[in-house]
């Protein structure tokens, strides 16, 4: 028997595989393909205080080995999510994590409070890759001070474990990861999407109304691995690795780089049963290599 369970900020995940926010809705659609109880955790779509209508279409473009999205956080708002979406997930024996986002520190605080009060979430993932209105549209996650401020605000209003989700669009991840740790983050997850642009040549205009969109998918894996490795060396709190994971081998590579758990994002679009398949593939690799406990691999890169 291979031990797959990992501990994450006080939570026990039956295995290290979680879904990535925004690629899994609120779980309903994938529940048509498999039992969500097979997963270590489910992270739901980014939830904001108020309903968000999102960006105008088109919202999706393909790139080589990946994709870009400009969904703009369309979601029904915290109240609706609590009333109509999170209850559905309670039937599954998996950790439920709500990803939250905001345009101001106050919004982060308020949505964290609401989700906590609902009692329907086991943890919060705080997406700080959103544009910071005050800082002229730069993401909170690109500045250690802004990242610290959001962490502090959310920390103050919730006893739930909080995971800060970091942006890869930075020169150096270490100071940002450390700032979150210092303000009481229980974990960090990375990477969010990489800022990229798609151009509609024939019409001579940016493909997306927002011009810059977020790239994800297997194309970004080497960049994600590098950030996870750098972040894991910078902090002591657990790191959740994601970015381009398609297979069990990919997932285990992230764990070697220092991740305690992993998230499956765009792979869900490539193969809707990716997440449970990746659990199986991880288990199989561990058995073949006679590794009794997946935790042995966390950060076990020989350098």
């Amino acid at each position: 028997m291979t031990e797959l369970a990992v501990n994450l900020a006080g939570l026990t995940l039956k295995n290290p595989v979680m879904t990535a926010s925004g690629t899994f809705g609120f779980g309903r659609e994938y529940a048509e393909f498999y039992d969500l109880s097979l997963l270590g955790a489910v992270v739901v779509k980014g939830t904001t205080l108020e309903k968000k209508q999102g960006n105008p279409p088109p919202r999706i473009a393909e790139s080589i080995g990946g994709m870009l999205n400009s969904v703009g956080l369309q979601n029904p708002g915290a109240d609706e999510v609590i009333a109509n979406e999170l209850p559905f997930l309670q039937q599954f024996a998996t950790i439920k994590i709500v990803n939250i986002a905001g345009g101001t520190v106050e919004q982060y605080r308020a949505v964290a409070e609401k989700i906590t009060a609902s009692g329907l979430a086991d943890a919060l993932e705080v997406n700080i890759s959103c544009p910071n209105v005050k800082a002229g549209g730069l993401a909170f996650g690109t500045d250690p001070l802004a990242a610290a401020e959001v962490t502090r605000a959310v920390r103050a209003v919730t006893p739930l474990p909080i995971i800060l989700k970091l942006s890869p669009n930075v020169t150096d991840i270490a100071p940002i990861a450390k700032a979150c740790e210092a303000e009481g983050a229980d974990g960090i997850s990375l990477i969010n999407t990489i800022a990229g642009m798609v151009i509609d040549l024939d019409n001579r205009r940016p493909f997306f109304a927002n011009k810059v969109a977020g790239m994800s998918g297997p194309a970004v894996k080497p960049v994600a691995l590098r950030f996870v490795w750098q972040a894991a060396r910078a902090v002591k709190i657990p790191v959740i690795g994601l970015g381009g994971i398609m297979t069990g081998r990919d997932a285990l590579e992230f764990m070697l780089a220092g991740a305690t758990a992993v998230q499956i994002g765009s792979a869900n679009f490539y193969d809707p049963a990716s997440a449970p398949r990746i659990v199986r593939e991880m288990e199989q690799w561990l058995e073949e290599h006679r590794v009794k406990d997946v935790k042995e691999l966390i950060g076990a890169l020989e350098e």
Binding site: G22, T23, F24, G25, R28, E29, Y30, E32, F33, K45, Q53, G54, P56, P57, P58, R59, I60, A61, E62, S63, I64, G65, G66, M67, N69, V71, Q74, G217, P218, A219, M246, S266, N268, F269, Y270, D271, P272, A273
Partner: protein
């Protein structure tokens, strides 16, 4: 909804830049209904990464087979056309909602361009029920396909822009001033569907349109494929892959 590894058993050119593909997909063929679509992997590796949405053109549940007809417009469909018979690709489906066919006692079907493809299973379903008028249009006769199949299902009339088949002009020009139908089903370019929607509104006929948008997942999770849709006097973004692709014409916003 099923994700199935499918063998390509036919992949042949049936018009200028138009190809037909037959896929061995027993489970999807069994579940598929007229108006639904599939998401097709267009290559062997991870490129193209996203699947392409294609309407289901034929459903042969007994043989475990579906076919799609597709126009080569970009990289994905270009690569698809080069896959030899015997290749295996992943197919996800059946996606989206089928055409609603409740009151279709006298139905009118209007297809333009590649919008013709997903109308055949509907025409077949309706042919059993009653009187179906079918109007198909394309740029030229080289881009028309499945005419024999459609002709079996109802009264078929055809228009081409260059006059190489049927009447010269837009398919909408074929339509009689008084359609006297209970239901209209249309799929094609947005301007065509807009004209159809206006005509349906004038004549107070229930009208259904099948929309397109760029897709990520095809199953409703990525929020990528939304179109602006009217709902109680408000305009909200709804998912073409889940709430669509078929929408009632009165809901559709044409000028976003």
């Amino acid at each position: 909804m099923i994700s199935e590894r499918a063998q390509i058993t036919l992949n042949r050119q049936v018009g200028i830049d138009i190809w037909q593909m037959r896929l061995q997909t027993p489970q999807i063929a069994k579940a598929a209904r007229a108006g639904q679509f599939v998401m097709l992997q267009c290559g062997t590796g991870l490129d193209p990464f996203l699947k392409r949405p294609l309407g289901i053109h034929e459903i042969a549940a007994d043989f475990g087979v579906i076919t799609c007809v597709y126009r080569v417009v970009g990289r994905g469909t270009g690569l698809l056309s080069k896959l030899p018979v015997g290749s295996q690709i992943t197919v996800l489906g059946p996606c989206g909602r089928p055409w609603p066919q409740l009151n279709a006692a006298k139905a009118v079907i209007i297809g333009g361009g590649m919008g013709i493809a997903p109308l055949l299973p509907l025409a077949e379903d309706l042919s059993a029920r009653g009187n179906t008028e079918i109007y198909l249009g394309a740029n030229s006769s080289d881009e028309l396909f499945a005419l024999v199949d459609f002709a079996k299902c109802g009264n078929l009339r055809v228009a081409t822009l260059d006059g190489s088949a049927g009447v010269k002009g837009f398919v909408t020009e074929l339509l009689p001033t008084d359609l006297s139908a209970t239901e209209i089903f249309a799929c094609g370019p947005l301007p065509m569907m807009k004209a159809v929607a206006e005509l349906a509104a004038r004549q107070n006929i229930n009208c259904w349109l099948s929309l397109e948008e760029h897709m990520g997942c095809g199953i409703g999770t990525c929020m990528g494929c939304v179109r602006p849709i009217k709902e109680n006097d408000k305009i909200v973004y709804k998912r073409v892959c889940r709430e669509g692709p078929v929408f009632n014409a009165t809901e559709v916003v044409f000028d976003d």
